[in-house]
Symmetry: C2
Subunit: 328 residues, 2 copies
């Protein structure tokens, strides 16, 4: 069956696989340093030294909802969350591959807007879209793989935190969680937190700056500050103590907390998906611009590695398990 | 809720996300050349020169069925199809990342067997499993990204075929298609074609050998020989003529063709998923071991780039569109 030009109501099933690949990645302009871009069996770039790689999967109904976010936002978020992982190693993302699955009745317009979001966020992050694969599935599923370089610095791992270190943060925490909370209750405001949930504001470049400033350990805060610092504590064999007073409660979080009868510190300490960076630095190192201290590292005691708030355990859910909770 | 040790009937939803990641990639032994493996925000390897990358997505009900293939086979296939893309550039796969999505009621035993298959095929291909992500979705979905190196040779593209070239093939064609055909009709034999559908036999290393032998163009035969050589013809701006007599019809394909009233050459020319490699070489070059000639390249005529069989168009479906057909 011949395929005409796309129409406003056309579905990806009508458009066909090869035309969808073209729609998703065909409008790309060549990127410097990319030897072979989309369209061959594999892409080719030139690299030297340490190559970083990370994969994230975003699934409709789990990580986004089509009625809660525009297609363009889903595309942007898919890039941002994955680049954040490269940043968290102290690296600089250079390339990205995208595996896209959707039901056949997905409007082509949605796929095109998604691709536009992918491309705009790749441009913002300085990342080349190297290739992709598209296929059919019941849920819209986006698998993104980011490739990054370290520009000569050692990758910063989770396990390098040392007793005496300062724990520092750059970026926002609690905003996306607040957005998810209000969306889940049927509201669309405050708009700033809803937007924060739809597209995280990742500080591109902050990870490399932290690595060059001597960060001992670093992590992407994706599951919530306590949960992710728990990974740092466990990998480093240390105890981390956070200071409640280190955190301002921004006005939008105050508003959401009041309207939903929620402890605002629960948003800050356990809200996920903002993709801030948390790191530890020697106490003698000046913190890089945009980082602020939130706690300290000490040797772990008889209870083993853990994260405390002002010296005591935070009594609440810490983080989020995609298989266990019913969040959608 | 505390989580006990896994049981035979435990589901991934009961096991939880972090434990599932551990089950999928936790038993890995360190691989030489891998600076940082699974468990941090990103993996790190050392590379120099040209880095190849490719992504493939396999979806339950589209690319595999749990009642047609064991979990271990699905894991092996996920690796093989993706490494084939690196081979088709003349490269050598070195690393792989896996995004795994599944419904919460998937038995943990299935996920573990899948992981065992991933790991065994990675070992066979000499590939390090670098990292992964797991999440919840209605369909089991596997997104694999392979990273590869070229060991100093130029990547072999689809667009390099030249008039006068010999078209050559290594590996099997039609076997997986025959397996899919019999499974689709409710049979499980001949076992050899069913096995070919479940796990393609990719000739690891053949792509690099072809590149060093001077291959002008190369492609992974995933969608069917005519369809994939059509990509070579289009990218190279040439006409490709295949010789029917170049292809033996192996006994299992004869049996399937007879039992299903199918033209065996339809299996050979349009059957997908065997992941043979097709390439073009200068007529003066000796073909590498394991490659056999199947046709020739000439300048395209007024009808533009195309693929013929003994000088005429093959009248049948050529290849497979995951969005358009109802295959499952």
């Amino acid at each position: 069956m011949p395929v005409g030009p796309p129409t406003a109501t056309q579905t990806v099933g009508e458009l066909g696989e090869f035309a969808l690949i073209e729609a998703l990645i065909g409008s790309l302009t060549p990127t410097p340093g990319v030897l072979i871009g989309p369209g061959d069996d594999a892409a080719a770039i030139t690299t030297t030294g340490t190559l970083l790689s990370s994969v994230d999967v975003l699934v409709e109904g789990v990580h986004f909802r089509r009625d809660w976010a525009e297609a363009r936002d889903v595309g942007r978020k898919s890039v941002a969350v994955n680049v954040a992982d490269i940043e968290a190693m102290g690296g600089r993302a250079v390339g990205m591959l995208v595996g896209f699955s959707s039901p056949g009745d997905l409007p082509v317009a949605w796929a095109r807007e998604f691709a536009a979001g992918l491309q705009s966020e790749c441009a913002a992050a300085g990342v080349a879209l190297l290739g992709g694969d598209v296929t059919r599935a019941r849920d819209v599923t986006v698998a993104v793989t980011a490739l990054g370089v370290t520009d000569g610095v050692e990758p910063v791992r989770r396990g390098g935190a040392q007793p005496g270190d300062v724990v520092a943060l750059t970026g926002r925490v609690g905003w996306a969680g607040a957005g998810l909370l209000v969306l889940g209750r049927g509201f669309r405001s405050p708009r700033v937190v809803v937007d924060a949930y739809r597209v995280p504001q990742v500080r591109y470049g902050a990870g490399g700056v932290a690595a060059r400033a001597g960060a001992h350990a670093m992590i992407d805060v994706s599951d919530g500050l306590l949960a992710d610092l728990g990974h740092v504590a466990a990998a480093s064999g240390v105890e981390i103590d956070l200071y409640r007073d280190a955190f301002d409660v921004p006005e939008p979080l105050q508003a959401v907390a009041a309207a939903t009868n929620t402890d605002p510190y629960s948003l800050i300490l356990t809200g996920g998906e903002d993709h801030a960076l948390a790191a530890t630095f020697a106490a003698t190192s000046p913190l890089p611009e945009g980082w602020f201290p939130i706690g300290s590292v000490r040797a772990s005691g008889p209870d083993g590695p853990r994260v405390l708030l002002d010296g005591v355990t935070w009594e609440s859910a810490t983080g989020f398990d995609h298989f266990r909770s019913g969040r959608s």
